[in-house]
Amino acid sequence: MLPGFKLSLGYTLFYLCLIVLIPLSAVFWKASSLTWAQFIHTVTSPPAFAAYRLTFGASFCAAVVNAFFGLLVAWVLVRYNFFGKKLIDAIVDLPFALPTAVAGITLAAIYSEHGWIGMWLKPLGIKVAFTQLGVFVALTFIGLPFVVRTVQPVLEDLDPEIEEASASLGANRWQTFWRVILPTVRPALLTGFALAFARALGEYGSVVFISSNIPMHGQIVPLLIMSELEQFHYGEATALAVVMLLISFVLLLTINLLQWWSSRFQNQE
């Protein structure tokens, strides 16, 4: 029996309560001072609905794009050899390491009318910076590593024998991918998708620079909370925060279930 159980667990619980749980409970304490009618009025107001639509819509689209390209990048990094592969592998984590405010201003600069990418899109009539499309671009950027990093280890562990078996049974490469590889990768892919989606829902720093931030059109939920705070509407800000927190908790539970499912998958092999 190793020592230090009481000390380490005691300190863990103390620090957890002090830093996370007690401050977090203040949100529910504040929310309880609102009447039910006030709460419902705030969280179902037209600006709130517009913000939910943009936040969830853009986060979902960004997570879908990341699921597709994340799988592709993970596949290319695991299966093929090419010049600069190590560098590319390292740079995938850039959105984890780059502060969101920096990501926000640089994306806004690139996608503005005179920016490196924006100037090519302008003749096509596509505006990205200061539109809802910009929100999607920022959320795609910050969610990029999640799918790559969850799918990559699963692809690395994939036993080549099952692909050989599939091929020797007459499947072509596409069928093997679709019917053998993809089902094995699916739990990890879904986990990565959920992580990218959850991260995008709460994102603030990168979006605030590239979005128009116009109420009813370009405001994501965290920005709406921020603008309520700036007007000292603490009750309204708290009500919206409670909605977002509950959604985060549901997503966290889903992700845990997905991870449990995906570890069960891997253990079966």
Binding site: L2, L16, V27, L98, V102, L144, A167, P222, M226
Partner: protein, 304 residues
Amino acid sequence: MQTVATLAPARGHTLRRRSTSEPAWVRWLLISVALGFLTLFLVLPLISVFVQGFAKGYEFYLKTLADPLAVSAIKLTFIAAGISVPLNGVFGVAAAWAITKFDFRGKNVLLTLIDLPFSISPVISGLVFVLVFGAQGWLGLYLNSDHPALPWLAQWLNDHDIKIIFAVPGIVLATIFVTFPFVARELIPLMQAQGRVEEEAARVLGATGWQTFWRVTLPNIKWGLIYGVILCNARAMGEFGAVSVVSGHIRGETNTIPLHVEILYNEYNFTGAFAVASILALLALVTLGLKSWVEYKNASLADQ
């Protein structure tokens, strides 16, 4: 007979390659699309930070960074990271020790609670501290008042005239909150995989608890700990949303580097904003470099 014998493995080899790989044109197509996507979404934004930062030349760049307001922002960022990283590092080691070396009920609940700050929007992370310490907040309601039910903490803060919100302590607290899980999350899977056998052997051989920790556990988790600290530090220095809520944006006092970037940007001093942002981008690159180096070290340790 002999020709058949030598031909057979060769044919088998090509067959095997063909059956578990793709034609060359598919491979190159996939590589190009993946690299194109990464260039567009990662490499271009990164290069753009430096190009825009140096748009008005070195002199302007150095002048922006030497500005007293920029210097005070850099100082505050180092203070916030310097406090939050060690605190969360100690917590991470303690939590990982409790969770991986012992069995107890509710372990999964504890793991989920530790991860909680990751799944909370930065704006809400800042909001919670405003709701605790702010003027309308939990403790704040009692601050600067003669309320009979004055809680002891508010009393103490009152007595020492300590401000939390729109002041440095709030920034430090918000930074600790958002970087809370980083080290614990890195260490828990690592120590889980290493098991308890080595520590138990050390105990049987007569080592005390602390000796076991310093001489057996710590060398084993060294790289994982460094890795967690690097990621924790990167987030602590770059945090924007949570810090923005509690900062109050008082120049020269409660501005961190990311907040200073925002102020310059909103003043249409784009080159200045990118110049300051380039420090953070450089920090991100150093983080990625160290991370790859630690991963390489880890892999070579695992091979031995």
